[in-house]
């Protein structure tokens, strides 16, 4: 097999997902053995403006300029992989959608705010077609590896469409609800091996919401445990605010 020409791109994000890849250690070299990295701005000076076999894109679309750039990347890429919460669901960048855009710009930039354009944050698939999703903030390296292999083999990858609780139970964590704490695990897509709960924190929903959540049931649970619904909605918005937006493609 020819090594696919692969380019890494970053839109608005913290670049932590790229870093997760750098953190592969020496096995990164195995990955570089099978792909031909032609552009990776954070670690490479080389640039590439031709056809790309695989575009691996991090970050969300936060202004028109980014949307245009993304569309151009899509046009010359055979496969688009969105990775990280920013790219796949909008992630923390989406929180700004809860505010009036002009107001938040003014708050941060003062009177000069008009020089700094901004649009509502969007996930990548809300602007262009995406072939593979690697959810998570940051990405869970084993999942990234699996998606990469599937892409190379030309077979689909299905993001788990069941709750983080599944993995959490298998890891035999004491359920946060047993400890009187609200956790977003029951409505969040698994695939991270319940990373946060394994380390004593709650799930913040960074992998997006399962496709068919039982919203009424969840509300019942929340009220049963005496937790304020507004509190949960607020938590949910931390990563999942963008799901309210229409897709440009539709």
């Amino acid at each position: 097999m020819k090594r696919p020409k692969t380019a890494f791109f970053d839109l608005s994000c913290c670049e932590g997902c790229q870093l997760q890849i750098a953190n592969f250690g020496e096995s990164l070299l195995d990955i570089l053995d099978i792909i031909d990295v032609v552009e990776f701005r954070e670690v490479m000076s080389e640039k590439w403006d031709k056809e790309i076999d695989m575009a691996i894109i991090e970050g969300s679309v936060t202004d028109e300029h980014a949307a245009e750039r993304l569309k151009r990347i899509r046009e010359r890429s055979k496969i688009v992989i969105a990775y990280g919460s920013c790219a796949t669901i909008g992630g923390v960048n989406g929180m700004k959608n809860s505010f009036d855009l002009a107001e938040i710009r003014k708050y941060v930039y003062g009177d000069g705010y008009k020089f700094f354009p901004a649009a509502k944050t969007k996930a990548i698939h809300q602007v262009v077609k995406v072939d593979y999703f690697v959810n998570g903030c940051p990405i869970y390296p084993p999942e990234f590896e699996r998606v990469l292999k599937n892409a190379l083999q030309g077979i689909p990858y299905y993001v788990p469409d069941y709750a983080v609780c599944v993995e959490c139970k298998l890891n035999e964590n004491v359920c946060m609800y047993d400890r009187g704490i609200a956790c977003l695990g029951p409505v969040t897509r698994a695939g991270c091996n319940s990373w946060c709960i394994n380390n004593g924190n709650i799930c913040y929903g960074c992998r997006g919401i399962v496709s068919n959540p039982n919203e009424k049931g969840m509300k019942d649970v929340i009220s049963k445990y005496g937790i304020d619904m507004g509190f949960i909605v607020n938590k949910m918005d931390m990563y999942n605010k963008c799901r309210e937006l229409k897709h440009e493609e539709d």
Binding site: C14, G25, E46, I104, Y109, G110, G200
Partner: protein, 447 residues
């Protein structure tokens, strides 16, 4: 100033091998430097804006997402500010574990910078990719060291990028004896690689360029190399409490950049490894001092390119100090009753009070300030973060202003490519983290 002979127009769009998006613009017309600046074009993410209305207890979770490289640093600064606002004093054990985390953060980031971002320039290649062929051992060592730091963070806080278990009040999960042993093994196992790194870097030649400037870093009166706590100090003799950070930074807007600039006693100042080295050299671990002498470095060093060398010196320090902390825990044990449950305050099970707090932490690239004002429910009403890279931007531009004419006026004037590379290397030497720096803030609400 000698006469500049050429005209050139340099525009490096999307500067590579830095974090985030920046452009270098240089315009020389008939011998006169007309323009020379570093544009920050990263689209802003409005972190201070979005923090409003969120619980102080999730601030560190959100602000860690400002930057993937210094996620732990942002977490620690954020936690410090939150605890300051809430009036919580962390336990001695917590502080020690946080120090360990910060050491790992600095070590990890410096290794990344030294090997993957700076070394290619010094070795004359475009990126580390060609090095896989030519310097396979070096690349492997870099990746190995990086992974080791990552593994230690994994054990300590769940992961390095966006740490999980370090929260306001302490840790949600404390390392077990076997975890301590694992971390100890990983770090002591890294020593030969560290020696090899020092050996490698000591043989490389850094560009010669000097410009005297003010260096700013945390300082203290004790013997400890100050990273997690201290006053703000400078080589121009400034010393002030962290709560006065606004007076130490004096942020101002420049039109070409979506990141603010800062100044203190002079027109610009520098933060980061070199600043810390210049201010706190005496407090470095003996191994680090030894490294400094191998590299031939003494304070006060005013060659900005040597920031990379200062990073190496600090790496040696962090590694040894981290090992010492772990050994200490191995001997004295860990008090597991300190493990805290996340979210209790946030869910109003423990009362909170209104307040205003500042966190000032030395992260890999310099002092990072977080400042929050919270209401009586612990909800953030105002937030401000000042990122090291912002503080360096002004200084970088001043360096460029001195460097470009020098390059063009030397006996054999440099070509456009050479100038471009020299400028890129200069910017990279500061290890700028542009995604961090685009946040912006005005409000002056600090007490």
């Amino acid at each position: 100033m000698k006469k500049i002979k050429q005209s050139m127009n340099i525009n490096v769009e999307y500067l590579t091998r830095v974090e985030g998006h920046g452009n270098i613009v240089v315009n020389v017309k008939e011998g006169r430097l007309q323009e020379c600046r570093l544009d920050i074009v990263e689209s802003p993410r409005f972190f201070e804006g979005i923090l409003r209305g969120r619980s102080i207890f999730e601030a560190q979770h959100i602000t860690s997402r400002i930057c993937g490289i210094c996620a732990c640093g942002h977490s620690l600064a954020s936690i410090q500010a939150a605890e300051d606002a809430l009036g919580i004093a962390p336990s001695a054990q917590t502080v020690k574990l946080r120090k360990l985390l910060l050491h790992m953060e600095i070590l990890d980031s410096h290794i990344l910078h030294i090997y993957l971002l700076a070394a290619p320039d010094l070795l004359g290649v475009k990126s580390f990719i060609p090095l896989i062929e030519t310097h396979n051992k070096v690349v492997r060592r870099a990746l190995r060291m990086k992974k080791a730091c990552n593994d230690v963070c994994g054990v300590l806080v769940g992961r390095h990028v966006h740490p999980i278990s370090a929260i306001v009040g302490g840790f949600t999960k404390l390392p077990k004896q076997k975890d301590l042993n694992a971390m100890h093994n990983t770090l002591t196992g890294m020593r030969p690689d560290m020696e090899a790194t020092i050996d490698l870097i000591s043989k490389l030649k850094f560009p010669e360029f000097e410009r005297d400037t003010e260096y700013v870093a945390l300082v203290n009166d004790g013997n400890e190399y100050p990273l997690l706590a201290g006053d703000i100090g400078s080589t121009d003799g400034v010393r002030m409490n962290k709560r006065e950070y606004r007076k130490a930074t004096n942020e101002f807007i420049v039109p070409h950049s979506s990141a603010k600039h800062t100044k203190l006693s002079r027109e610009s100042y520098a933060v980061g490894a070199l600043a810390r080295f210049n201010l706190n050299y005496e407090k470095l671990h003996p191994n680090a001092k030894e490294t400094a002498s191998v590299l031939g470095m003494k304070p006060k060093c005013i060659n900005p390119y040597l920031n990379t060398a200062a990073q190496l010196i600090e790496s040696a320090h962090c590694l040894e100090d981290a090992v010492a902390i772990i050994e200490d825990f191995q001997n004295s044990g860990i008090d597991y009753s300190e493990e805290i449950t996340v979210g209790l305050n946030e869910q109003k099970k423990i009362p909170v009070k209104a307040g205003n707090g500042v966190g000032a932490v030395e992260v890999p690239r310099g002092i990072l300030y977080h400042n929050y004002e919270i209401d009586e429910n612990g909800v953030i009403v105002n937030a401000d973060c000042i990122i090291p890279t912002n503080q360096n931007l002004n200084n970088i531009e001043r360096d460029m202003h001195k460097l470009v004419p020098e390059l063009l006026s030397q006996n054999h004037a440099k070509s456009e490519e050479e100038v471009t590379l020299a400028l890129e290397m200069l910017v990279r030497a500061y290890d700028p983290c542009i995604s961090c720096s685009t946040h912006m803030i005005k409000v002056g609400f600090v007490c």
